[in-house]
């Protein structure tokens, strides 16, 4: 009796994962050495490992995509963690406005990323966007935010920062509130200044939450697709091309399902490596 419920309670989840994640990942291995084309709804597989490797070697977009992704993740996550930490340290210790802060900060996390993309696309508009409106009002010359190769990546990173500072804030905010007041009180009685309290007492106690915020944001930033698809689709040229965006184009615009699988495997291997390295930060309890 007990064992039957025990087994069927876990079974649906396992079946679903095997069918929709394990099997597709195994399939990626097969796809990565093949060329797949559809004739009348039936996939025709051909064994062409050399062709896929040649596509990899000749992929001129890959290098800028990797470079941009690295820049996007590093700059975006650094800014998000610094701003989120600064806000959390101050706001958690205010007497009013905390509830309001939390309500407002959830908004960007819950709004469809695609809607955020179209919002910012309008705000970045050269002719009537709010940024250029402000610049013109200050008698400065307008900037082609999404259309110039030197500015576009920064503009896209700014959207990511706007989108995700609140998430880092919420995690760190809860962690700051979890610090026992006696600890801070003791430091103060010992004569520590507020800055010292923040740097020597609070930030060290936030380290686990900080580690989680950094790893999570890092990996999620690496996956960014929706907003950038809307804002620039990787352009102008390849100046905002990111890993996910490139993968999408290979799979569904160039219809190279085999080569796309090869790229996917490389991505999965890279992320697995990061996960293994940062395992300790991610699973402090329960998960492993």
């Amino acid at each position: 009796m007990k064992s039957s419920f025990r087994h069927w309670s876990l079974l649906p989840a396992v079946v679903l994962f095997v069918a929709l994640t394990v099997y597709p990942m195994v399939n990626l291995l097969r796809m990565s050495v093949s060329t797949i084309e559809f004739t009348g709804g039936v996939a025709q597989w051909a064994f062409t490992p050399a062709r896929n490797l040649a596509l990899l070697a000749g992929d001129a977009v890959l290098r800028p995509a990797v470079f941009n992704t690295a820049l996007f993740v590093t700059l975006g996550v650094t800014a998000e963690v610094l701003l989120g930490l600064l806000l959390a340290l101050f706001v958690a210790r205010l007497q009013r406005g905390k509830g309001l802060a939390r309500t407002v900060m959830i908004l960007p996390i819950l709004v469809p990323p695609v809607a955020i993309g179209s919002m910012w696309k309008l705000m970045y508009n050269y002719d009537f966007g709010v940024f250029n409106q402000a610049l013109v009002a200050l008698s400065l010359s307008p900037v082609n935010w999404l259309g110039s190769t030197s500015v576009a990546l920064a503009a896209v990173i700014l959207v990511d920062i706007w989108h995700w500072v609140p998430f880092v804030f919420l995690i760190l905010f809860a962690a700051v509130e979890g610090i026992p007041p006696d600890v801070i009180e003791a430091a103060r009685i010992d004569g520590a200044t507020p800055t010292q309290i923040a740097r020597r007492v609070m930030i060290p106690m936030l380290r686990p939450a900080l580690a989680i915020a950094i790893v999570f944001r890092g990996i999620l930033a690496f996956k960014t697709f929706d907003e950038v698809y809307l804002l620039t689709s990787g352009g102008p040229g390849t100046s905002t091309e990111l890993a996910s965006l490139h993968l999408y184009k290979v799979f569904f615009e160039q219809n190279l399902l085999g080569y796309g699988a090869l790229l996917s495997l490389a991505l999965i291997a890279g992320i697995t490596a990061v996960l293994l390295v940062s395992r300790r930060a991610l699973v402090p309890r329960g998960l492993a």
Binding site: V14, L20, M31, G41, T103, P112, K121, F128, I179, P180
Partner: protein, 285 residues
Amino acid sequence: MSSTLAPSSVLPLAGRERVVGYLLLALALFAIIGPFAWIAMTSVKQQIAIYTGAWVFTPTLSNYADVLFGRRSDFAANIANSLIVASASTAFTLVIGTLAAYSLYRFRWARWVVTGFLGWTLLFHMIPVLTLVGPWYIAFRELGWYDTLGALVLTHVTLNLPITVWLMMAFFREIPTELNEAAQVDGCPPFQAFWSIALPLAVPGLIAAGILDFIFSWNEFSIALNLTSRDTATVPVAIARFAQQYETQHGQMAAAAVIATAPALALMAVGQRFIVRGLTMGSVK
């Protein structure tokens, strides 16, 4: 975790720090709300008012009417698709995820089962979903499920299962162990113990997970973009098409963005408490 709801125990700021604190808060609120306000304003402007960048104008609902009822627009159908997919996938995710979480929490599974299962959910949650959309596309086309709402529901259930299992496990762990032991001693059958003891106590978890599942499914773009066509397209796909095909219809673009944001706002008004708990749970304690 109760700390997120209880009044702050952290020593309040005073003097100059307090002024800086309120300034930072005001700046952050402005930075977040500003873009929303601007887009809402743009959505009720005529094209001319948008181009001139006017701050004073006669508001109009014509953009909303065009988006929802215009002859060239399928947006009403897109909303229906999104509602179907999000509701169905939320229901399935909650049932499957809650059962799995309870099973892992309550029954003595071998360590490799637990580690393997949770490790796999973590890995799957971390990889870009686009890596799997390729194989899904092939499989669904061969099965004849490509371009169906059912296939999209299946992928969304899979996508949201990891976070649902983690959340529900965290909520189950808060149930006092004495309750389970008492049930066992009284000879309560396992399913009954789950149904009438654990589940009622985990209702806040179900609400949190349900809201997040619904929103994530409603927002999901990269799968829907590649596994649907015109008839099955969801709201995010429609917004993307809008932004690309009718690049000059800025008012409609803004209106569509506002409409797409509405469910998230509504759910947040109802269940903010649960959402905050869900989003930050497990990361801090």
